[in-house]
């Protein structure tokens, strides 16, 4: 107990997952402290998304344990909803609800899960829409917004649950190049405010800027964990070197 402020918010040990016979994750051990920003990178198909999707149980794991804020997350548990409330998630393809307005997209979670009144939920939603700078679009439908705006709405929707941790699953991969900056700005702002974040991303500039640690994965395993300075200048493993040369090489 040498450092009370660094108590782990997420701790994963011995985590393994299979899709039928395919071993998607193999013996993952990882802890994330409160306020820490983690960036997970690696070649496609390396299990990055699967790993963060296990944390809020969008994917069920078969072996190992995951603790979030002191509670074990298990596939068969009944009250997953109360744990998911503390874990915000942002998807590659935004996954907004197309039949609801921007405001309604944000209000749904607080009303149904946190039991807020319509008025309180609306005030909360507007507050977060202002934070991601799309308050003026509140009454439009998702299809009327650009990709970058939709992704910012998705971030605001996750924040409305006042989560303890935010998971980002390649949030900028589906965006046109000119839209990426706006989304990354919001994420940097969030990081500066001290939000605990786990980001799967290929944005290496962003990773260098906000990450406390970089997790490099390949073939369902964690190959190395290092600070951005070390990882970008002197990666240990051959696979990380190869990956970096491919990502940064042109």
């Amino acid at each position: 107990m040498e450092d009370q402020t660094k108590e782990p918010l997420v701790s994963i040990s011995g985590l393994s997952k299979w899709y039928e016979d395919f071993n998607a994750l193999h013996d993952i051990n990882l802890t994330v402290s409160m306020g820490e920003k983690l960036v997970i990178c690696g070649p496609s198909g390396s299990g990055k998304s699967t790993l963060i999707r296990c944390i809020n149980q969008l994917e069920a794991h078969q072996k190992g344990t995951i603790f979030v804020d002191g509670l074990e997350v298990r596939p068969e548990m009944k009250n997953l909803e109360s744990i998911r409330r503390d874990i915000g998630m942002v998807f590659q393809n935004f996954n907004l609800f197309p039949h609801k307005t921007i405001l309604e997209n944000l209000m749904l979670g607080p009303i149904r899960n946190r039991g807020l009144s319509f008025k309180d939920a609306e005030a909360l939603a507007m507050q977060y829409l202002e934070k991601v700078q799309i308050a003026e679009q509140a009454n439009k439908y998702p299809a009327q917004l650009s990709g970058g705006q939709q992704q910012r709405v998705a971030i605001a929707r996750a924040l409305c649950m006042t989560p303890k941790i935010m998971l980002f699953d390649e949030p900028t991969s589906a965006l046109d190049p000119e839209m990426i900056a706006g989304v990354l700005d919001v994420m940097v702002q969030l990081a500066d405010e001290g939000m605990t974040m786990i980001c799967v991303t290929h944005e290496m500039g962003f990773a260098r800027k906000i990450a406390d640690r970089i997790v490099f994965m390949d073939e369902g395993e964690i190959i190395e964990i290092a600070t951005p300075e070390v990882f970008f200048s002197a990666p240990e493993s051959e696979r990380a070197k190869l990956f970096l040369s491919q990502v940064l090489g042109h």
Partner: protein, 301 residues
Amino acid sequence: MTKRPSAPAVPRKRLTVTDYTLFAGVIVLIFFSIYRVNDVLVYNWNWQRVLSFVVRFDSETGTYSANLLLYGLMTTVRLAFWATVLAAIIGLIVGYWRTCNNLTLRIISRGYVELIRNIPPLVFIFIFFFFISSQIFPALGFDNIDRDNVLVDNVLFRIFFGDVRLFSNFLAGVLCLAMFEAAYIAEIVRAGIQSIGKDQWEAARAIGLSRFNVLRDVILPQAGRKILPPLAGQFITLIKDSSIVSLISIQELTFLATEVASSTTKVFETWILVGGMYFCICFSFAVLFGWLERRARRSLK
């Protein structure tokens, strides 16, 4: 800013010679059929005789009152209304069960759908009537409801359920029709639910919605908009299928029309009139669903 040219005018769509020819062709065909029928068929048309079974004029009191065919029409509307409501509820539940992970629910719903879908309606109706409703209803006491009970002896009851003496009979018709159509509606609902991508489930689950809330707030509203057209078709089919229950002596439009046709011997007039009545009910349903569809589309723009 440089001035850009405005959009070129789009020529207005006009009916071409081909269109006029087609219309003319259809009209000629209709008139030719009527002419041939009148020419060949030796038949004494008497609409008055049949119309008096819709509304009867009492010469003694000098008042008009509803007659058999109008009663039948009302019963059909009632039957269609309750069967639609019930079929929608059963169809929604069974359709959802078809998509569940729970094996028991899947087996039950699949069994229900396949059993009903793959036997002719007539057979189903006879089996249902003789083995189920005629056994269960008397046991439940539907056959001898006290006619003077305040619950049944009021205007509202008569509007929604018709004559108390025929209530058990009416209920059998509603249940039978609803259970039959629910199998088809269940398949439409299943297709609708499955047409909504996994990403919507995940997004909704990720903000902590329960399974029920995901269905209610995210999946069903989107599925509903998609399945409106096939659903409209199924409900219209239901209204027309309601004529089959005349076989188990439910006194709806087709049943009474058979009686009128045989007692007046004015077969053509009766059935043309009854056909028109069915058309009116079904077409108003189609218009209603068309309106719903346009509304749903607008909200998704």
